[in-house]
Symmetry: C4
Subunit: 352 residues, 4 copies
């Protein structure tokens, strides 16, 4: 799989506004780069002399079987990438046997995303709104539409400063709306980064562990907390009823200088890895990165930008191709590491 | 905030002599570069699940309230940057709610700087002169003009070798004088670096802790010692009556190869951080750098070059814009770190 | 010796398909680069005041005397590099007093390679085939043709993803065959990397320690296991009857992100270095690299690409020149380290 | 001082053969680069609040007073750099109050060098010749000509492979001879590196501690051993009667990959620093490098290439200017470090 070529291809077909929105990070993009570099810095100690004629890359995530421990991260505004937006992503992810986490800020309603791939497992990403009634309604709709878990993003009390979006005056083009909000506030503000303004206007900056508890009580769906980079915070999430955490720095788009996720993962696993499932995203670009994350103890990884480049270049088929590529790379990497199942991806595979 | 673009803009409007004077460092400019890199090397462990709907970035410095823990460092000859020089800097700093440290080597007299922003807090930077009577007079004038503290610079027994200034034959253009010296020696020598020659002719190379004591006894104003990079020296300053120290390597302009200030800060804080206020300058370019410095235990940071680029491009408004930019970045970074007040910027925010 | 110039020279004379096949690595070629960098990172502590007027670089490998501890690694399809392929390599290696490890995937039959340099010591590289009868036959033929050891490669249960080969549709040109397989499957599949397809079709992915034992029982020839990067695996090999191991990551062509061989070598030596001979390949480009490997405790190093560049540019003479170059560099490096024999290449020569 | 500019200037006036001879290193020039980088990696912890109005940079070396702890390293064939060669170097070094170590491979006889600056202290560099009678004669002549010490170079049992010299067919141009050898073998061989061939033909490769003893017994002059990078070797030298050692890797010209001298110095000082004087050369380019070396405990540093660039561009005056530049930089650096004498350059000045 050649993700660099795929990104270049996607870039050539996207508006600058759209490409920059997906590709960019906060401030000096130090964390954006470090996320990728941190996986690459890790070295593997492959095992040989194992019978790897049959390798099984499948796993379960919160009990749901998936073909591979590579899920699709929630990313907003996917119709910027492809006419069919989240619908195509859902179909492609389903075809690859993976699981899509649908962003609250989707440009297709959560019900329509569900309808696009009704049989596939799906999780709903949630931001705490200033008006909690909106969340209550979204949760009810997600439950009704067969979503199986909620992924509460907690690292966006304010938007990171994304220079590219400011420069581009990032907003949604005519005809594209935040479809989950109906007629309430479907558009993004204009002038500077519309997303940054939206966050200030609509999202809560006072999310605490009590809100995790509140959200967990709104439905039978388990709640994952996304955006955790510390063991103590992860433990707080678990105490508040979270079924797991996603180690994430929002793809380097929020706090620039935040620790790379590959560097933060061990601390979080130490704190709660024995109790709940721990996921990680940020900079995962290769099957070997998946091996590294799972060898540390992660349940699965989430990919964001790679799926978007697939979506942009090939719609559902493009997403599926990227996931299949990860699956193929993971299977090969596991064979080359002497691991037949994801359970055999153990810490001794990592040097030092 | 895009300081790189601002500097480029400033550069295009300045003479080479002026730009080089501000931008340059000593010898091979190793420390100049390392100051910036040292902050960037540090990684943050942001906290989530805190109520950061209200964030207060204000603090006090030697008891004086300021809107943010970002002060303006003393830099010389500001009329090289802007027609109004230190006057504009004072107005811009005051408008941003920050505090200006006025250089003895100002091109506007300390009284005129004070008059430009009479209500704002201001500190006076001091070099020990060979002729201490000059210092005594300057201190008296500063006290009379409402300055609230003295900042004694102790890392200039001789000027660092600044190749750019040597090459440019750095001196003051006609009509620009060191205004605090009246008619005594208002001009810089010509040939090579005029500043270097001035230091040799006028400044004391025998400053010791006894002089800190002497200076502290000259007025009611507290004395900060600027240019300290070691714990033992900091402790000596405190014993001599200093109200605090500024961890500084003079912006990489004196001893090339000197430790970066972000690397020296912990040692100084260990030695005296519990007793007096510790400030730091050098390479601070982002709100996240301020977070890092305060998380270590610094009281506030000083910015030098960024304020100059603001001054050069926009006078008082430019200075204010830079400070407001720092304030905005700091507030955002604190939110993203889960810190509601500067007191909540604690060491656990730093990785490793 | 100037291997960079030699490689450039070889490149200009080879097809892109052939050059890329030899030069390339897996995925992002991180391990390919790290292999070279890892040797370069090591620093030597040379001894002085030793009588090094006479330096002996010779050693024995599995009891066979060789002129230097630099052997020629098994590499496939050498007629891609030079009309005479493995024949020329055998002659050149013999002329230099070194030892050739002949690849199963040679484009000249193992008997013809033997005939090209009948007096020289030679070892036969083996992949476990899905059809073990093929291995049994190859072993019998190798024994009959005077090969002295078997080198079982165990890091290829599947081929690494080599982007260059995929792009080039790597396969053998008309008239070139895998000569050891007679008419059974002499050609590589077409489309994508033919080698990758061949591996899937023909090679076993279930090689275990039991197969090492099986192979050791097939002939009187000792068996080295190649592709080991961990102490525990090396110990397993020894328990299974291996006469030694080759620390190798297949030249960075299999698992990208695998630990560099210079970094893996100490662990393997700790585990089995006292019991069996340990070899290493990957990134060895200088006589000083040989010194470093032997100072750690390796018996000898294997060179792969350098020999191919010699072969491509000068046939047998080119191979000899490269080996002579290594010998000359090694002798000089030993002199400069104060070591008169390879036994005097001790761990204290390495810094830290 | 701008040594980069000086080198560029020198380069433009020299033949490629001459420039490459001075500038180049062995093999991949890793150690050549690391020598410079190793000093730059070290960070200083300057002291403030010291009376540095008077700074004394002078010291003694083996009892001889010199104006600064910066001596001129032995380098060969100086008439390649300047018509007057070693004569000019001797005059320039004397004018600067420093000390010249004259190479056995000088292009001016040791007596003529002595006559060029009769009052200045000078040491004679020695290679052990295969024919020890030559050494005995050279020592007697050196004693007669007022040399005060012998510097025995022990890291050249064979010449390092210097690609540039091989490519240039390094030899002496017509009319230039190794003047200390009279008519015995005044010329260098032709073809490849003439120096490398000369070493093989004339120099001993079996120098041991016994030869140090032997040399020490040949005259009343103390013997320094140059080319030591290890504590155990240094201790051997002292036991054999050496008055000190020079930590050196021959300017990166011998064993490529050898530890940088700044990294080797502490070990040697630990072993013998309390007993004898320890000198260091390699990569010293700034007054701050001198500070670092002396802070570790070195008695003085030797500069090689910088003096040659001075010689090439300005003859005696050029050498003096470079040394004066080092003196000026050292004095400034000491002031900025709070050190009034070289005795005050203590280990606490180095970070970590």
């Amino acid at each position: 799989m050649d993700l660099d070529a795929l990104e270049a291809d996607a870039r050539s077909g996207l508006t600058r506004l759209a490409y920059d929105y997906y590709a960019g990070g906060a401030d000096d993009e130090l964390t954006l780069a470090d996320n990728v570099a941190a996986w690459q810095r890790l070295r593997l100690r492959p095992r040989v002399l194992r019978d790897v004629s049959t390798v099984d890359i499948s796993t379960t995530v919160l009990g749901a079987p998936v073909r591979m421990p590579v899920l699709v991260a929630p990313t907003a505004y996917q119709r910027l990438a492809h006419e069919e937006g989240e619908r195509a992503n859902a179909r492609g992810t389903a075809a690859a046997g993976s699981l899509l986490i649908v962003s609250t800020l989707a440009t297709v309603s959560l019900e329509d995303v569900a309808a696009a791939a009704p049989q596939a497992p799906r999780w709903m990403q949630i931001y705490l709104q200033k008006d909690k009634a909106i969340n209550a309604e979204l949760v009810a709709r997600a439950a009704a539409a067969g979503y199986r878990a909620l992924v509460l993003t907690v690292d966006l009390p304010v938007a990171g400063y994304r220079r590219r979006d400011e420069r581009n005056g990032f907003t949604l083009p005519p005809g594209m709306t935040m479809a989950n909000f109906g007629t309430r506030h479907p558009d993004l503000p204009h002038g500077g980064s519309g997303l940054a303004a939206h966050v200030v206007q609509e999202l809560a900056a006072n999310v605490t562990a009590a809100d995790v508890e509140w959200l967990a009580g709104q439905s039978a769906m388990p709640v994952l907390v996304k955006g955790v980079l510390r063991g103590d915070d992860a433990a707080d999430c678990v105490r508040a009823g979270a079924a797991g955490v996603v180690v994430s720095n929002h793809g380097g788009r929020q706090l620039d200088g935040a620790i790379a996720t590959a560097d933060a993962l061990p601390e979080v696993l130490d704190a709660v890895g024995g109790d709940v499932e721990v996921y990680v995203d940020g900079g995962v670009r290769r099957g070997t990165d998946v091996v590294k994350a799972l060898a540390m103890g992660a349940r699965a990884v989430l990919i964001g930008r790679p799926a978007i480049w697939g979506l942009a270049t090939g719609g559902a088929g493009g997403v599926q191709a990227v996931l299949d590529g990860f699956g193929e790379e993971l299977e090969r990497a596991m064979r080359l590491c002497g691991a037949r199942t994801v359970a055999e991806l153990t810490p001794d595979l990592l040097a030092r």
